[in-house]
């Protein structure tokens, strides 16, 4: 009898019943998170999205179970161990300082859980990172305040929707023409920032046809909130091919220039070589000679830059084409030869660039 009372005083009145109720609630929460129809709210558009959902269910289930125990005991202790009106004013609680066995277990169990969670996360991380590399390569470029997309064998940029064929692995290369944006498709459970001056890539395989919102999730300027109007369309191969060929025709006349800072590529038609010559003397001749490549002042000599068979490539490795020269003029150059400011710093308009390219093109 005395022992029994000591026993109940040891854990407190109703402790085990409360523990049982909390255990049931914890099990219910685990069942809830594994049953929860997440894909009804948010389709899983790519293969690895379902793995991310698995990780979410695992963390939500274990997290809820843990929380139910912490919150439940907190509530129960705060109510059950309240001071009673019958207690003397200087009543004190049970003077326990610690309990090494308890502390051992509540350190070991979270530590084991951390190991388990690390294993699960690393495994799913690998599945995301090890998506095939040899698929369709698409580029998405962030601008204030939209994304543009480039596909192999389509000239220029696609400015409205991004289409992908179902079941084909995709490598999406991301960069930006101005500030940092972030390319997020909630249905893909995947995002990555588009960083100016940096190309990052994500790889995935679409598994479900549909139209999915593309959202910028990194603050990028005053209209950041409006940067959610574009969609990713996942469709069957035939529809994708029709869309793809449509753009090939539509953009046939567009030069294949990479996007310039500020968005639009420079139209090179209508450049005037004499005007370019005047401009070259004013803006370029301090650093560039009209001479062979290795006649350097600061930058290389530019005579025949577009027609010198011994230098088929530009300093940045791009082939020597008018569009690529225009790109360097537009965005500047930083590399082994030094640095050249961009068009804004140099005070070059698009017409100026067209004129300069026309002039350089005229030097044989």
């Amino acid at each position: 009898m005395v022992e029994n009372r000591a026993q109940s005083a040891h854990v407190g009145p109703g402790f085990w019943s409360v523990t049982a109720v909390l255990g049931l609630l914890a099990i219910a929460s685990i069942v809830f998170w594994y049953w929860f129809p997440l894909e009804q709210y948010l389709p899983a558009a790519i293969v690895t999205a379902r793995q991310v959902d698995t990780l979410f269910r695992f963390m939500a289930a274990t997290g809820s179970a843990l929380y139910i125990f912490v919150f439940g005991y907190l509530l129960y202790f705060a109510i059950a161990f309240r001071v009673k009106p019958s207690d003397p004013p200087d009543a004190i609680g049970v003077q326990v300082h610690d309990n090494h066995r308890l502390e051992f277990w509540w350190t070991l169990i979270p530590a084991l859980f951390v190991v388990l969670l690390s294993v699960v996360s690393v495994k799913i991380w690998y599945e995301i990172m090890l998506e095939p590399q040899n698929g369709l390569v698409v580029q998405a470029i962030g601008h204030q305040f939209n994304f543009t997309f480039r596909y192999p064998q389509i000239n220029g940029e696609i400015t409205d929707e991004m289409h992908l064929p179902i079941g084909v692995p995709v490598t999406l290369n991301l960069t930006s023409s101005d500030v940092i944006h972030s390319f997020w498709v909630p249905a893909m459970r995947l995002k990555n920032d588009t960083v100016p001056g940096l190309v990052t890539s994500i790889r995935f395989t679409p598994r479900l046809t549909g139209r999915y919102q593309i959202i910028c999730t990194q603050f990028c300027g005053v209209l950041h909130a409006q940067m959610n109007k574009q969609v990713l369309v996942v469709e069957d191969k035939a529809s994708f091919d029709r869309w793809y060929q449509g753009w090939q025709v539509k953009n046939a006349h567009v030069s294949n220039a990479l996007p310039a800072a500020g968005g639009a590529a420079v139209a090179l038609t209508g450049g005037s070589a004499p005007a370019g010559q005047t401009l070259f003397a004013q803006k370029c001749s301090a650093c560039h000679a009209i001479g062979p490549f290795n006649q350097r002042i600061v930058g290389p000599g530019l005579k025949g830059v577009l027609h010198d068979p011994s230098h088929p490539d530009l300093v940045n490795g791009d082939p020597a084409t008018p569009a690529n020269v225009a790109k360097i003029l537009q965005t500047g150059y930083v590399g082994s030869l030094g640095a050249m400011p961009n068009a804004t710093t140099n005070g070059l308009s698009n017409q100026d660039i067209a004129n300069l390219v026309a002039y350089l093109d005229s030097l044989k």
Partner: protein
């Protein structure tokens, strides 16, 4: 360390002569060198900024009542949340917990007469309101718009206020660094005889873990801010990629500070909770040493996890894994604390005062924020919800449900020590329930909003999210009313509150052994400490306090020991 050798070490240093109290209003209350006055100055200033940034918060929620916004322009909205975030972090939570409660309480708890460098302390304080005014004045020239993180290059495009922001935060950083130095020296050199590290109250441990973070991490932020300022004002390229800079550099520097800053904002609150719980449960804190050492472990590990804010920034992928696993690992010492606090309640004689309600509410809400922190640390899941309302929900659970609840617990607990009067308990309980319910109504739905696809930093949003946004906005008004009740309570109680006497809560730490408010010199005689303060069944572990509550004059003579 034996008591004798402790007295040898500290002789003169802490028990030495007492300076006469300065006379005149300005020297006593404006340019004061008294740590208690400075602490109160911090608290008052920070609460003024809290009111302003709270109004900004309600502006945010009012804008988000409708999917199309419409309350303020997108430009203004961006300014509002940027200043809201910056002010809440740098002008409210950090100053309240370190300069405010730190200054006010821990020198009393270690039996010191002041901090080590009182003049430096005064300088630390006076930088802070100046910096705060600078930050708010940025509204006059176009406030920063890129959030409290101000990632370049977009912050390079921001209006002139962004440079003002950088200068203001730099100054707050200087103030923080000086405070950190002051606190480390005070805690190491000025403990009363016999107060070994393992006899220090846990609030002191919280400050002891925080102060090195203030000292070390803030310097990284200062460098980042100086570079941003130079780039914006003088065109020196650090971050602009078109001029050879790196935008990701800012993120590394910023988070190398701002992740430890998360612990600057939570470790002192852990300390407050660890004082309030034993006092009102009438029980020793459960697992004193584990709580103390886990604070140090968290502070140390806090330096090694910054890149978990950058999983989507284009880091080399293999770098993500160590940062993920180290972040998970921080869950272990944090878990130990949560379990120990919960166990402290078990078997207690619990007085559910307002301070205790806030302390229990702290554990409930902070635990939730901690668990969602684990979600965000898991790289695959972070790649989904990074930059969404899930993150907004997570850090508000930590910083409002955690740090700010801790601040309120501290206010109800230590207000008598500041003023000699108690805060009204009925108003306190109304404050707690309005705040607790309003808080959960505001931030709980945001987890779901983020998962469903609502990004952060948006002045308008997709109409499908309207219902939960309205729910959050209305709840935020409830929370706001709760805070108004608190302000009314403070203003009323400071004049008409019940007189508290020296020790209204039967506290056992040293600050309760002296009058409320304490004398200028704190202790007439420096006490000697024989043990931990939390043994409720034992006599108090101090000697030398007999004269503190009498009319006897203080021991004034220099070198009396």
């Amino acid at each position: 360390m034996s008591i004798e050798s402790a007295q040898m070490t500290h002789a003169g240093g802490i028990a030495g002569h007492i300076h006469p109290e300065p006379q005149g209003f300005v020297r006593r209350y404006v340019f004061s060198i008294d740590h208690k006055i400075i602490g109160i100055q911090y608290i008052i200033t920070a609460f003024v900024f809290f009111m302003l940034s709270g109004l900004l918060a309600e502006t945010i929620r009012t804008q988000l009542l409708n999917a199309n916004g419409g309350f303020v322009s997108p430009e203004t909205y961006n300014e509002v949340y940027s200043v809201h975030g910056s002010a809440m972090v740098w002008l409210v939570v950090i100053p309240l917990l370190t300069g405010g409660f730190g200054n006010l309480i821990f020198p009393l708890q270690i039996g010191a007469r002041d901090v080590a460098f009182p003049w430096l302390n005064m300088l630390s304080f006076w930088i802070f309101p100046v910096a705060g005014l600078m930050l708010f004045s940025s509204f006059l020239m176009g406030a920063p718009t890129a959030g409290w993180t101000e990632y370049p290059p977009v912050s390079l495009q921001g209006s002139a206020g962004t440079s003002m922001w950088a200068a203001a935060i730099f100054l707050v950083g200087v103030s923080s660094t000086l405070t950190g130095i002051n606190f480390v020296v005070t805690l190491v050199k000025m403990r009363a005889p016999g107060m070994t590290f393992t006899r220090m109250p846990l609030f002191c441990w919280g400050q002891f873990a925080t102060a090195p973070l203030l000292m070390i991490a803030t310097t990284a932020l200062a460098a980042a801010l100086a570079a941003l300022f130079m780039e914006r004002v003088f065109g020196v390229p650090f971050y602009d990629p078109t001029k050879g800079g790196s935008p990701v550099l800012w993120q590394h520097m910023f988070w190398f500070y701002s992740h430890p800053a998360v612990y600057i904002m939570i470790l002192p609150a852990f300390g407050i909770i660890s004082e309030v719980l034993p006092t009102f449960a009438r029980k020793p804190i459960f697992g004193y040493k584990l709580i103390a050492f886990s604070s140090m472990a968290i502070a140390l590990a806090g330096f090694m996890v910054w890149a978990h804010h950058m999983f989507t920034s284009g880091l080399a992928p293999y770098l993500q894994l160590p940062f993920m696993i180290l972040t998970f690992a921080i869950g272990i010492p944090t878990g130990i604390k949560i379990f120990s606090w919960t166990a402290t309640l078990w078997g207690g004689k619990i007085h559910l005062t307002s301070a205790m309600l806030f302390a229990i509410g702290f554990i409930a809400l902070f635990t939730c924020g901690g668990i969602t922190g684990i979600f965000l640390a898991a790289v695959p899941y972070d790649l989904d919800v990074h930059g969404t309302y899930f993150v907004v929900a997570h850090f508000h659970y930590v910083l409002v449900g955690g740090s700010l609840m801790g601040v309120f617990a501290g206010m109800y607990y230590w207000f008598p020590k500041m003023s000699g009067r108690l805060l009204n308990e009925t108003l306190g309980k109304i404050h707690f329930w309005l705040f607790f319910i309003g808080f959960n109504g505001t931030f709980l739905p945001m987890h779901w909003l983020g998962i469903e696809g609502m990004p952060r930093w948006v002045a308008t949003y997709d109409p499908q999210f309207e219902f939960w946004n309205r729910f959050a906005s209305v709840s935020s008004y409830v929370m706001g009313i709760g805070i108004l009740v608190f302000f009314v309570n403070v203003l009323w109680s400071i004049r008409a509150g019940k007189k508290s006497g020296p020790n209204p809560w039967n506290g056992r730490t040293l600050e309760w052994m002296i009058p409320s408010p304490p004398h200028y010199y704190n202790f007439k005689n420096i006490p000697t400490v024989y043990g931990l303060p939390y043994d409720f069944s034992h006599p108090l572990p101090y000697t030398g306090l007999e004269e503190e509550l009498t009319d006897a004059p203080p021991a004034l003579a220099a070198g009396a020991h």
